[in-house]
Amino acid sequence: MKRPCGTFDTDYGQDMAIARTRFQWIVGIVAALIFFVVMPFFTSTDMLSKINIIGIAIIAALGLNILTGYCGQLNFGHSGFIAVGAYITGILITHLGWNWWATVPVAALGTALIGLIFGLPSLRIKGFYIAVTTLAAFYIIMFIIIRSENLTGGIYGLNIGTVQLGNIIFDNEQKFFYLIMFFLVLLTFFAKNIVRGRIGRAFIAIRDNDLAAELMGINIFKYKLLAFAICSAYAGIAGSLFAAYYGYISAEQFTFRESIWYIGYIIVGGMGTIAGTFFGVIFLKVLESIVTGFAPDLSSLLPVLGSQLISGLMIIMFSIVVILFLIFEPRGLYHRWELAKTTIRLWPFLY
């Protein structure tokens, strides 16, 4: 990473710092103030609900980026793991009457446990094989959810109700904004600290060459399982938030296609970067809402195309965007962002 001119690191702490220069601190604090204090009161509810959905998606995608982007294990069952988190929350609330806040850690741990179970084959198999075993995990999870009707309500789903903290009831978008952002900020720092510490380095070593990593003394089994557990825990928390935000969960909300979308987010954003996860989710979700905005006009212009036009178009657009990124910029938007920053710092000199 390039630093602004004249910035020298004199110890390892400075080398690892997230915000290194005073300028970065100022920009960061001002942006955070605007985003968290001013913005929620001056934007429309519609916009805020989009931001909330993006926030939940980023939490889930962060977990996937740690597993796929950092540790190199493909996961096609991410939406299944999110479903596990959502259903753990839902079952604890509807059947045992727990408070939502108490269910979040249980959902995270429970989903991590499920992730561990399906991560077990990763010791023996890799590559395509691990991709298909996570695909199998998705189908098995959804099968169990749909079939255990007494607990999950089967195809009818579960009503969660509202979330409370003391006597604050989370019933509008602004309150949910702060709820989701609380978890998002917390989990982003957690993810960032995982990946720049010992664990993250072990993950990267396993991704680059797991045989070499093992020879260097990294316990592959432990770290692969840890990656699966972290990924699933993030999915579990995202699932809990999902259940709280929508107030209703059913098996139809967790599709295989959704799992692919999560992989698409981290490809577009940049695999193996925390900031890239944000770029990817925001980029694709904004694109999605633009297409959804134009689709009614399009379908009234061309009624022959039928009612499923919007969903079909969305899928086509999404996959073409990801394919274009794979072909032209496999390192994702984050790489472009770094290039842009470097260009600005070096301007007008070309050295």
Partner: protein
């Protein structure tokens, strides 16, 4: 009686397994020649089957009902040509030298794009194909089998045989096997690797189309059914081993058999749908003990 029930399930499972074997063959051929695991196989199946439906209904509407099958076959060959050209030329060529995971993601996105195209062009509920193969059922002693399944099984086996012969006996098949050994070596002895890739995608799309038409004739032609068939081709491939053509056949049979058995014995206990999930569970268990499938190559890795 109980044994007869078992036999009945076994036979019908193997008949269904023929279609899985055909789908698995498409994936295995592509993997052997180009090292790409084609996750789009299920969606290519749907695309081909719906295109075949359009061609056949068009032929019937145009008063060419007797020519519907030749028209369909010519049409799907053209379609396979177009699909293979687009995939090879615009998607795979820029990816030469990229890590394998990128190509894998590409096939997934390709599958999504194809399924989106299918949703836009053929929206709404399923279609009914014009009758191509006999329906009804027949009995061998106390065992009753569906005529449609038997016919589709026979067609699958014939196609499978043709593909294997092509792979083993023709010059292009030899070139494909050479490419699968080592792409650079193949290029240095004058094999055009791009042409091989094109041929592989062509065959994969064609096999997908035929299995899609067979599924559509036996069951009904809709996206959900075809997607379910496509999804069960993956465990068939991995069970048999990614590099093995006989493995694809046996993997397909095992998946069909397991599906039927679990449907017959476990559905009452679990409330239906066990047949969709057991193949995956069996695959998980076998992969833990044999990580490269039943007949796959054991890779010796170096750093």
């Amino acid at each position: 009686m109980d044994f007869m029930f078992f036999l009945q399930l076994t036979l019908s499972g193997i008949l269904v397994g023929g279609i899985y074997a055909l789908l698995a063959l498409g994936i295995v051929l592509l993997y052997k020649a180009s090292g790409i695991f084609n996750f789009a196989q299920g969606d290519m199946t749907a695309l081909g089957a719906f295109a075949a439906w359009s061609l056949m209904t068009w032929a019937i509407d145009a008063g060419l009902a007797s020519l519907q099958v030749p028209i369909m076959i010519i049409g799907v060959i053209i379609l396979a040509f177009i699909v293979a050209f687009i995939v090879e030329h615009f998607m795979l060529r820029p990816l030469i030298g990229q890590p394998v995971i990128v190509a894998l993601m590409l096939t997934i996105c390709l599958g999504m794009a194809i399924s989106g195209v299918v949703t836009v062009i053929w929206p709404g509920p399923g279609r009914v194909l014009p009758p191509l193969i006999p329906t009804g059922s027949f009995n061998i002693g106390p065992i009753s089998l569906s005529m449609g399944n038997l016919t589709s099984f026979i067609v699958c086996m014939i196609l499978f045989g043709i593909c294997v012969l092509f792979f083993q006996k023709t010059k292009l098949g030899l070139a494909m096997r050479g490419t699968s050994e080592d792409q650079q070596l193949a290029q240095s002895v004058g094999i055009k690797v791009t042409v091989i890739f094109f041929a592989c995608w062509f065959i994969a799309q064609l096999l997908g189309t035929f299995s899609g038409v067979l599924v559509g004739s036996v069951h009904i032609l809709d996206r959900g059914t075809l997607a379910a068939f496509g999804a069960r081709a993956f465990p068939a491939v991995l069970l048999g081993g990614l590099e093995s053509i006989p493995g694809a056949l046996i993997g397909g049979f095992i998946i069909g058999w397991v599906e039927m058995l679990s449907g017959g014995y476990l559905d009452k206990a679990l409330g239906g749908g066990a047949g969709e999930i057991m193949p995956f569970i069996i695959m998980l268990i076998i992969l833990i003990f044999r990580p490269y499938g039943l007949f796959g190559y054991k890779r010796i890795e170096r750093i």
